[in-house]
Symmetry: C5
Subunit: 312 residues, 5 copies
């Protein structure tokens, strides 16, 4: 398992001197001391309403939001990302989870054909600091930008200011950046995704979550990811997990994203929580085996099968 020390943490220049140690604490917590990020995405109850949580092919456990916190506490993750209110409802009963408060969200009801996407910041940073003062273990905040939307400017403003303000007080920031809108022909274009990664670096986020590029006959998705990882510079890049696939396929993709593409971890939601609690917990461990433990796909599959355990 890779290990980094406090001195290895590269603290951005917008972290105020007084917040420097707190930033390092948060960085080490979020990456479990590895420099790699295992992000458990739990923001879909607004993004996709109940579509991801109830219906055919989804475990009954997933019908209630309790499921997310059960997984987060029993599994092995870096951070659990969810909206402020969700965290506020459950955090007292799940105090050990590292939380990332997702600052913006929208539903999927209005489609791009009707209007370009805008996901508004739902509460100010002070409300997050209040959670922390109340003892909630929040290590950072997250924000989604739809690049190329006609509302790009509004999201760029909110993200741009949020990163500065969050860093000032020592919180990490993860950006979700998805090119989307009438102006975007191909959301999975590798060169466009590299552009998104560069935007994250220029805005100053610590990590950026992007969709993996669509592979071609000549290059795999992971190979094409290299351009984006270069463009991201000192911002760590992680790929969204997408819809649920077989665990071994998923784990192999993840391994390649990290070891071929240069990704700094993973950001996974549906692939985890749409499973029953037991299976979901094992999958978090298998994912973390790769992301945090630098294990092979074969070993990670053994972890998923319950033949081996992985904790940090």
């Amino acid at each position: 398992m890779p290990r980094i020390t406090r001195d290895d943490v590269r603290v951005p220049a917008d972290v105020l001197e007084v917040s420097r140690e707190r930033y390092i604490d948060n960085y080490l917590k979020a990456t479990q001391g590895t420099g790699r990020l295992m992000l458990f995405a739990c923001d879909q109850k607004i993004e996709h309403l109940n579509d991801d949580f109830y219906g055919e092919g989804i475990a009954a456990d997933d019908a209630s939001p309790d499921h997310l916190f059960e997984i987060g506490s029993k599994g092995t993750i870096g951070i659990l990302a969810g909206q402020r209110g969700l965290v506020a409802h459950y955090a007292a009963d799940y105090p050990d989870i590292n939380y990332l408060v997702k600052m913006n969200s929208k539903t999927h009801l209005v489609k791009t054909a009707q209007d370009d996407p805008y996901s508004p910041q739902l509460y100010d940073l002070q409300t997050v600091l209040d959670l922390i003062d109340n003892g909630v273990n929040v290590v950072g905040v997250g924000y989604t930008i739809y690049l190329g939307s006609e509302y790009e400017s509004q999201m760029m403003i909110e993200a741009g200011q949020l990163i500065a303000d969050a860093h000032a007080v020592g919180l990490l920031v993860v950006l979700w950046i998805y090119p989307r809108g009438k102006a975007v022909a191909n959301e999975k274009d590798a060169h466009l995704i590299a552009g998104a990664a560069g935007v994250a670096c220029c805005l100053g986020s610590d990590f950026v979550k992007v969709n993996p590029p669509k592979g071609t006959d000549e290059m795999t998705s992971a190979q094409m990811l290299k351009e984006a990882c270069s463009a991201a510079g000192r911002t760590g890049l992680v790929c969204a997990g997408g819809s649920t696939v077989e665990a071994d396929v998923f784990l192999n993709q993840l391994w390649e994203q990290i070891h071929v593409g240069g990704a700094t971890g993973n950001a996974t939601g549906r692939n985890i929580h749409q499973r029953s609690l037991d299976e979901a917990v094992r999958l978090t461990k298998a994912i973390s085996a790769i992301t945090l433990g630098d294990m092979s796909v074969a070993d990670a599959v053994r972890v998923f099968n319950g033949e081996e355990d992985f904790t940090v």
Copy 2:
């Protein structure tokens, strides 16, 4: 009659430490010590102008807003929800009512075909705190979100911030969430309503008021409500009452919403205030007999008929 203690109240993590006891007080007041909510909705004078208060089939008593407060003080309710100005005009003469200040409202003059709905926040939270400082018995605030409207983002922002700010000072929050707008094909779809319930949980409200789903040949409305009650997680779900129906039909629906669907109470307006004062008072008692007293429909009908009394 179910009873909860101060220790049973699950205080969200965004209630500041200094406001914790006040939140518990408000929660116990609003639920009359039962954990269930009987909400008397009195915000229609803006929402529906005078249509709900004057005309055929509406008792003459309802022509003046005094009627609402007479019912609220003589009947048995949990909270009376109305706009800030309405409460300010009457509260001094009806000091014992638990008030919930409805923070946003719109008229129904502009229809969705002309423009998607936006209901703006009409005053800031400080104005509510001023009412409380002036001795008005306000226990919480309410806000309506039209999910799927092209203005969804504006309402999400206002609600998201309001909940944080209200909890910080120990006030309860009830969200009204109605999917509505050009993008919404079926407002009464059970799965969509479950999505709305999940949004309320993620925003962190204490209760959410939704429309009951439309039943099908195979499932009753109450059975279909289960999905939403699960999705709501720790946010209590109550159903809007809709237009006026026979009292026994209404009471039976309510009983099923709670005992089959898993609802945490009721939110009723027109069904109550469109009746004469005496009848309206008896209906509040019958509703509360079910919601707060956990009584049977038959017993509640007896209360409505004046054969029995119900108070808390």
Copy 3:
């Protein structure tokens, strides 16, 4: 002449304790100790540009804004309503007039067919408090809402907050509410006007100025006004005067609005200021004879004819 005492003034619960006596002072000043409102509307120089002040059928005196203040000081009125700047230019020379600062205004250049109406708040409440600190006798503020406009939400927000803030410091609030916009088929519909009156009550204003409903074969305008006066609850309702008509016709309408319809006074502009100074002064006295003095139409006509005087 009806008389009310300080104890008769119903102080809304949003008047801060420290401002209670000031609110009562302002209420008694504005209603000249009667509980009835005689409002002299002087905000048309923005609303109608110079159309109401210059041209055929308009006295030459009306060409200069001085005319309004001459009438206000020599006639008998409750309050003179005008924009902040207008009051600031003249108040030092007319210190005894009770002023109501109209907070929003628009011109009539853009018609509803081109764009729905929005009348913006032109200055914040602090600028009014500064006038008061400078010794100007301001007793309240006014605001116009075009209900049913596509910009209804913006005006509802400004009015909603203004009322809370004005009451907090002990100022009266008068709302002008006119249903107007593409969504409004009949601005003079009695039921719609009743809706407007109910909105004023829910927003918490002290008075509301509406257009009188259009009478039908079966009911007079004054009879139809009853619905609105009921819906207004504790908000006093006064009717706009409209374009200039014969004095006796006007005075009879006013008497009926009060004694048949239940209105709490009058709000009159053009009917007064489009006359020569002498005639305008006499008309204010005749109007006040009815509104404030509870005199008969016949007696009021005598006052208009200069056969009798009326002062307060």
Copy 4:
């Protein structure tokens, strides 16, 4: 030359007591102790880009902004009106000029056919107060309203608040009001211009700059201006100079505006700065001879011809 004393200055009631003497100082400075305003308009570099400063029929001197300040310091003017940044660049070298900071501006690139005009406030009043604290001789601020534009409300808000805030600290305010937009058929209509003048009075400005009305066969422009000067009440009215015409024609128009129409001075830009420095300086003196010195046209022409001097 007309002279007014400190006691003649009518101080509006929104000038805070503490700022009263400063307001009087500024009024006397701006009007050179005469009560009349000679405004040298230097805001066209944004309004008309380089069209007014370079090209056929324009003196080469006008190519550089230095020209404006050379004229302002060597000529005889009341105030030089320009944007904040322009003043900030040059004021240290031209300390004796009375500056009026123009608070809003737009270019002429987007035509009314594409979008109605909106000229945004470019900086807040505090930035002007900072200039004053830094020793710059600023006596007031200016703002343009396009009445009848679909963005009228935005400009009315900015102007309405600006006047209150500027008066509070003792600064003068000049409004430029031009009816313009799809809703405006005839910008030069005398009755409409009178409406604009009335708006200025209601907003509370000290002076208003309007276009002179278009004369007809029966009435000259100056005669038609009377309606506007009446409607302006206590707001002094000055006419825009328009494009460059012969000096004697220009001086005659100005004399008539003041002595026939009732104008309180002039507001002249292109007619001055498009000339060579020497000629421009002489024209400012000739204009001031009429506006400030109450001299005849013939005498003013002699000043322009250099046969006589005029200073204050």
Copy 5:
């Protein structure tokens, strides 16, 4: 090499007295004591996404943002302009570079045919001051205005306020002004560019970056630039470098812009960073030889060829 002293620096009147020495420091740093500006533009990762950094004809070094800082530290430049987050990520490792924080940016995904350009301010000035307090060597801020866009007003507001606020604390301001939008027929028109230069002067910026005008058969681009340099007044004008051309061509253009057109320096991005590190470093030195060292084109080419060195 031209040299200016502290007394030669013309400090605008909006630099607060307390910030005067800091402004002079920053001015001398940014111009390397010459009064001329060599600006290395590194803001394209948002403006052009990854198009300028990866692909045919672009050196592999340019794929990672580290490249920009390597050039900045090893080459000879005046200031490196980049977004706040980019600077925050790297500044600690490159402490000697003079940074200019670019305050606004947009991607090129939405084309003008779909919507006119708006580049929003992404963070407030306080975040830049925080960087400085943290020890980052920031000497100024930058902002782009698209003149003639339907969103011109928003950018004018942000720029207008930013310049005042930045000067108040002693920071330099560079404006990028590009006429662009449906209303702009020819972005490279010399007269229009002169208008842009005049706008910069009126807003008060220290420098303005414009595109060089398109030359004609009769006049070279540099000759046509004279109009703009005059119109800019005390704002120094520098030309954007545009896409990559041969070094000697580029250096000759630059020399002519300065010595024929009257430019005050250069603003170059792609022409530098799309080269390998070694070549890019040599080009910065060659450019600075002309801009800062007042050397001939021939000498500058020798510097580019490595036959001579140039440092400051």
